[in-house]
């Protein structure tokens, strides 16, 4: 699923590893989500939204 994670990360100058640490997942997970190859579960999506102080819809683009 397309998303703005890279932009949001850049705004805070976080590397993928930084984000992974804050989310308590592996860097590989962050990369897979960011490149749209893996969709996070709802709990993880909410965690992302809380972390970036925004909504899930603001991060992820539902292509339908």
């Amino acid at each position: 699923m397309k998303n703005r994670l890279r932009v949001l990360r850049a705004e805070r100058e976080w590397s993928q590893a930084d984000l992974a640490l804050r989310l308590e997942v592996s860097r590989q997970s962050v990369n897979a989500i960011e490149t749209g190859k893996f969709d996070p579960s709802l709990p993880l999506a909410f965690k992302l939204a809380r972390l970036f102080e925004t909504t899930i819809e603001a991060i992820f683009t539902d292509e339908n």
């Binding site: 997942v25 592996s26 860097r27 590989q28 997970s29 990369n31 893996f38 996070p40 993880l44």
Partner: protein, 134 residues
């Protein structure tokens, strides 16, 4: 590429359990080879035969518990995908070889080899699945 290790206390406990089971498997295998050459028969033989098998089953159970309690959902997905394609490959090999044995008198494949074959395929599929997501 960094290794994806679950470094929580739970992860470490599981890994130690796994190491313990491996040691147990090796030990019971050795004990087994030592004593079985005296050829006990009947029920006792079956019971002794089951011991190393139980160790390997213990290893699998430990691994299963470890997967089930993995926090990282992506790593869990990778592991599940690898396991599934490994069993596809392993079952293909056993079925193929089974028919070759049955019909074309191919040399016998020991059932004991199924687990190591699965293990080899698991290594291959894990590498391939990781590559797909990189």
């Amino acid at each position: 590429m960094e290794r994806k290790i679950d470094n929580s206390a739970l992860g470490r406990y599981k890994k130690r359990m796994l190491a313990l089971m491996v040691v147990l498997a090796l030990v019971s295998q050795l004990v087994f080879w030592e004593y079985i050459h005296n050829h006990p028969t009947g029920v006792l033989a079956y019971m002794l035969a089951v011991l190393p098998a139980l160790s390997f089953i213990g290893i699998m159970v430990t691994y299963g518990l470890y997967i089930a309690e993995l926090k990282d959902e992506f790593v869990r997905t990778v592991v599940k995908t690898s396991l599934l394609w490994s069993i596809v490959a392993t079952l293909s090999v056993t079925t193929l070889w089974g028919f070759l044995e049955l019909l074309a008198n191919a040399p016998h494949l020991q059932p004991l080899l199924v687990l190591p074959i699965f293990g080899i395929f698991l290594g291959i599929t894990t590498a391939l699945v990781n590559r797909r997501y990189e």
